[in-house]
Amino acid sequence: MKEILKKFIIDNYLLGSGDIKDDDSFLDNGIIDSIGVIELTNFIQDKFKIKITVPEIIPENLDTLNNLERYITRKLKSSK
C-alpha cells in the first residue's frame, strides 16, 4: 500500500523525480498544498474504495506516508 501511495505522491507532486521518506511531512516539505490534499483524498477514495469524511481531513491521517498507511488500514478494517 505504501508503495502505491509513494508512487502517487512522487508522480504527481515531485514530477517523477526526488524521493520522500516515510515520515516526511508533505506540507512542511512544500510537497502538497490545499489542492493537493483534495487530489490526494480523491485518489485514496477511488483507489481503496473508502469514504473520507470531513473531520478526517487532518494531518494526523494524511500528512506523511506512515500516517496515510495507518489511516487507510484502519478505515479498511472498520469497513469490513
Binding site: L27, G30, S34, I35, G36, N42, V54, I57
Partner: protein, 493 residues
C-alpha cells in the same frame, strides 16, 4: 507619526516592546526583537553598499525573518520586491531582471532556487538570509525616506506576458493601510491569522495594517487542512481571518466550521476575487455577530479600493460597497464620461493609494493611468446608494449572438445550486455562434449532482444566450499560487 513602513516597527518597539508582533509555530516574537532584526539587516545592507532606491528581492515564505527583511529593506532606503516563490526559476528571473534586483534575501528552503536565480540574473551582487538579522551590524546613518520614495514593486499575477511590476511608494502603502485600519476598526489587541503570502499585496496589507496598530500577525501555512486552521484560531485566540473566496468555500465544505463558535474571532475578510453572494450569505448566517468584510482591491491600488459595510452583507452580498477613506471611484463609459446610476462602465480610481506606475514600462503605465485615475479594467456600476457592483473584467466579456454577458453573472447563478463547490464559465470560439459557453464545476464532497441537472438549472435561471452548452465536472479546480482559480489552464481541458 509613523510616516514610513520601517517606522511602524521601530515605533512599536518603543511603545510596546514586549507585545507580540509575530507568532510562527512555537515562536512568539515581540516588537523589540523584530525591530532588532530589522535594524541588523538594514545595517548590513547599508554596510554592503546598497544605495537608496536599489531593488532587493525577497524569496521566502512568510516567516519572522522574511517579514523583518521586508521592513529592513525600507529602512535601508531600498525597494523591496517580494517574489512569488511558487513560480519556477525561469519565471522569477524574468521579474528579477525586469527590475534589476541587486541583492536577494533568501528564506529557509529556497537555497537551491536562489542559486538558480543568481545564475540566471545579471545584477545580483550578494545574497542575505536570517543569519544577517542576528549579527550586530550597526551603521550610524540610514538614507532618508520621502513620502514619494518607491517602497515596493509587486509583480501582478500572470506569467505569460512580460512581467508587470506595480511600483508602490511609501505614501501609497501607508495611506492605504491607514484607511484599512480605520474601516476595519483594528486595534492593538487584534491578532490576524495570515495564510496569504506577503508577495501577494493582500497578504502584505494584512501585515502592515495590523502592525500599524501594534497588533499580532499569526503565520499559518497549514490551510490545506481547514480544520487545522480553525484549531489555530482557537489556540491563539485570533481575532481575524482573511482569505480569498476559495478559502471560505473550503472552510464551508471541508471543515467543521458550522460546529465551531470561534469566540475570539471578530472579523472575516475577503478580497482578491469575487465572493459568490450565496457563500457570503451562508457565512454571515453562521456567524451573525462577526463582521464579514467583502472588499475590492488591485495591486495597482496598494491594494484596497472599497469595502461593503458588514451590516449590509445579508442584503447586498455581491456588492463591494463604497470607496475607503481617501479614495474616489468613478465609473466611466467608453467616451470617458461618468456613468449614471445603474449604468455599467469601467471602474476608475483616484487617491494617494494609486501606484506611481509600472516599473520601466511607460506604455502599460499610460494605458492604466490617465490624469491620475487608475483604469482598473473592471466593469461595474453603482446602485442608488452609491454601492459598487462588479460585473466582470473588461476583457472577459463574452459576446454570443449579439448579446453581451459576463462569466461572473453565470458563475454567481450557478453557485446558488446546491452541491456546487466552485464553478467557472469560459467561452470558446464557435464557427456558428461566434462564441460557445462551457462551464467547469467542482462538487462539494458527497454531492451526486449531474450535468443534466446543472444545465436544467441554468436554463431556468439564466437568459438563453447565457446557458452553457457544455458542462465539465472536475475533481479539482486548478488554482494559482494565491489560491485563486487559474482560469486560463482550464482552456486545455
Amino acid at each position: 507619526m509613523k510616516l514610513f513602513l520601517h517606522d511602524i516597527v521601530s515605533d512599536n518597539a518603543k511603545r510596546r516592546p514586549t507585545d507580540i508582533a509575530i507568532i510562527e509555530g512555537s515562536k512568539q516574537i515581540p516588537y523589540k526583537e523584530l525591530n532588532r532584526k530589522m535594524e541588523n539587516l538594514a545595517s548590513y545592507m547599508v554596510a554592503m553598499g546598497l544605495k537608496r532606491g536599489e531593488r532587493v528581492g525577497l524569496l521566502a515564505k512568510n516567516s519572522v525573518g522574511s517579514i523583518a527583511a521586508y521592513f529592513a529593506i525600507s529602512k535601508a532606503g531600498c525597494v523591496s520586491v517580494p517574489l512569488n516563490h511558487a513560480l519556477n526559476v525561469e519565471e522569477i528571473s524574468r521579474q528579477a531582471n525586469d527590475c534589476a534586483i541587486s541583492s536577494l534575501y533568501v528564506g529557509a528552503g529556497f537555497e537551491t532556487k536562489a542559486k538558480g536565480l543568481v545564475d540566471k540574473t545579471k545584477f545580483i551582487r550578494f545574497v542575505m538570509n536570517e543569519a544577517q538579522e542576528t549579527l550586530g551590524y550597526r551603521v550610524s546613518m540610514f538614507p532618508r525616506s520621502y513620502l514619494k520614495s518607491p517602497a515596493s514593486i509587486i509583480y501582478t499575477s500572470g506569467t505569460t506576458r512580460r512581467p508587470l511590476g506595480a511600483l508602490l511608494t511609501q505614501e501609497n502603502l501607508m495611506s492605504n493601510n491607514r484607511a484599512i485600519v480605520k474601516y476595519a476598526h483594528l486595534k492593538s489587541s487584534d491578532k490576524i491569522i495570515c495564510v496569504l503570502p506577503i508577495y501577494y499585496i493582500y497578504g502584505l496589507s494584512l501585515v502592515i495594517s495590523h502592525f500599524i496598530v501594534g497588533g499580532t500577525v499569526i503565520i499559518e501555512t497549514r490551510f490545506a487542512y481547514p480544520n487545522v486552521l480553525l484549531d489555530a484560531i482557537e489556540k491563539y485566540c485570533a481575532t481575524g481571518f482573511a482569505g480569498v473566496s476559495s478559502h471560505y468555500i473550503m472552510l464551508l465544505n471541508m471543515s467543521n466550521l458550522a460546529n465551531r463558535k470561534l469566540p475570539s474571532l471578530r472579523y472575516f475578510m475577503q478580497a482578491g476575487d469575487k465572493m459568490p453572494p450565496d457563500v457570503a450569505k451562508r457565512l454571515a448566517l453562521l456567524f451573525p455577530k462577526k463582521k464579514l468584510y467583502l472588499m475590492y482591491g488591485q495591486t495597482e491600488a496598494s491594494p484596497r479600493i472599497s469595502y461593503l459595510d458588514p451590516s449590509l452583507v445579508p442584503r447586498k452580498a455581491g456588492s463591494v460597497g463604497k470607496p475607503i477613506e481617501g479614495v474616489r471611484v468613478k465609473i466611466v463609459n467608453v467616451r470617458g464620461k461618468e456613468c449614471k446610476e445603474g449604468e455599467e462602465g469601467e471602474i476608475t480610481v483616484k487617491g494617494a493609494n494609486i501606484m506611481a506606475g509600472y516599473w520601466n514600462n511607460p506604455v502599460q503605465t499610460n494605458t492604466a493611468l490617465k490624469k491620475g485615475w487608475l483604469y482598473t479594467g473592471d466593469i461595474g456600476f453603482k446602485d442608488p446608494d452609491g454601492d459598487i457592483f462588479i460585473v466582470g473584467r473588461k476583457k472577459d466579456f463574452i459576446k454570443i449572438g449579439g448579446n453581451r454577458i459576463s462569466p461572473a453573472q453565470i458563475e454567481d447563478m450557478v453557485s446558488r445550486l446546491k452541491g456546487i463547490m466552485e464553478n467557472v464559465a469560459l467561452s470558446f470560439k464557435d464557427p456558428v455562434l461566434g462564441e460557445r459557453l462551457k462551464l467547469f464545476v467542482t462538487l462539494v464532497p458527497g454531492s451526486k449532482l449531474e450535468r443534466e441537472q446543472i444545465i436544467r438549472f441554468c436554463k431556468a435561471n439564466l437568459p438563453a444566450y447565457g446557458v452553457p452548452r457544455d458542462v465539465v465536472v472536475l475533481k479539482n479546480m486548478p488554482k494559482n499560487s494565491l489560491g485563486k482559480i487559474d482560469r486560463e489552464s482550464l482552456r486545455g481541458k
